[in-house]
């Protein structure tokens, strides 16, 4: 019987477990924050997506490249899980035809309790987010650029007219305010 040679590019199962057991307090907080960001404006619980990412990594369903920090890997796994769940829900939806103002229009129906996506349009999302930063025109501009696919990185920083440090601080302020507004675990 041929024995399977372990692939040195990936962590062995006992190394994966050791890496997960060794996650620091800051790592765990970072993962919870990432789970919260990834589930922003969805009906998916951050806890569920994080648990599933841990499970897929522990079971070996997702391999861990040696050169990738375990936190980055878990965030990638969570992103993939979120995408899988959203796609699966889209397949469960049913298109139906309704008459609206004398015209036939096709809309999708879903079970609102099991649909991971909200029905928010980009305009509704923008309205809710921009309202969080009524007092901060620079933050509003950054969020609008993100949502609209406008300039990013250096180009956006120059557009807003902030130094690198001030721009990074603004990014931090945006994340913190969104965390507190949308996720109860970040409110003391």
């Amino acid at each position: 019987m041929l024995s399977e040679k372990p692939d040195d590019r990936y962590l062995a199962p006992h190394e994966v477990k050791a890496a997960l057991e060794g996650l620091s307090k800051a790592d765990h907080a970072r993962l919870q924050k990432a789970a919260a960001a990834l589930t922003l404006m969805t009906r998916i619980e951050p806890q569920d997506v994080l648990q599933e990412a841990f499970a897929r990594t522990l079971s070996g369903e997702r391999q861990c490249p040696r050169n990738l920090p375990i936190v980055s890997l878990l965030i990638g796994v969570m992103r993939s899980i979120r995408s899988d769940w959203v796609k699966a829900a889209a397949r469960r939806r049913t298109d139906i035809s309704v008459e609206s103002e004398g015209q036939n229009e096709v809309i999708a129906i879903a079970d609102p309790d099991n649909d991971p996506e909200t029905a928010l349009s980009v305009k509704q999302m923008r309205d809710r987010l921009v309202a969080l930063f009524e007092d901060d025109i620079e933050a509003q501009t950054i969020i609008e650029a993100d949502l609209e696919g406008g300039p990013n990185g250096e180009e956006l920083r120059e557009l807003v007219g902030l130094s690198s440090t001030a721009f990074n601080s603004k990014r931090r302020l945006i994340r913190r305010r969104i965390e507190k507004a949308f996720h109860k675990e970040f409110k003391r």
């Binding site: 996650l23 765990h28 806890q47 648990q51 889209a90 809309i107 879903a110 990074n168 931090r172 969104i178």
Partner: protein, 140 residues
């Protein structure tokens, strides 16, 4: 009833999420610890709980898989043990004739010299190795 989130809307949300994730990854441990100080330990505890639950989930799945494999193996053995000695001997000779693979020893090829217990034992071993197909006819 809800309307489908359009591809453009999803892409817009994804861009914002990417920016948030980038900031989370860029934050130093000290900055994250300062945020914990401000928010409380809730996020840390939630992540630790998610890990504990994942450990239980994976352990349970492994146990269920092992149980299913044991049950399948037991089923294969029962099929062999249920044969009467004459049928078992006939079955072994059929296998030797149709599949004289290198895995079968010379002693086993002389099935007529074996005891009934030996014949059943060899059939069980073949079933374990997957050489004895449970769907093969047993009484022809």
């Amino acid at each position: 009833m809800t309307s489908r989130m359009k591809g453009d809307d999803r892409a817009a949300l994804d861009r914002l999420v990417d920016a948030l994730l980038e900031d989370i990854l860029l934050a130093t441990d000290n900055e994250i610890l300062a945020e914990i100080e401000e928010d409380g330990e809730g996020p840390v505890l939630q992540s630790q709980m998610a890990y504990s639950q994942a450990l239980q989930q994976v352990g349970k799945e492994r146990l269920e898989k092992a149980k299913a494999e044991m049950a399948a193996s037991r089923d294969r053995k029962f099929k062999v043990v249920d044969l009467d000695p004459t049928a078992a001997r006939k079955r072994l000779l059929q296998i030797l004739a149709s599949d004289p693979s290198a895995r079968l020893t010379l002693a086993a090829r002389k099935a007529e010299d074996l005891s009934d217990a030996d014949v059943l034992g060899i059939l069980s071993d073949l079933a374990e190795l997957g050489i004895l197909n449970e769907n093969d006819p047993q009484d022809d």
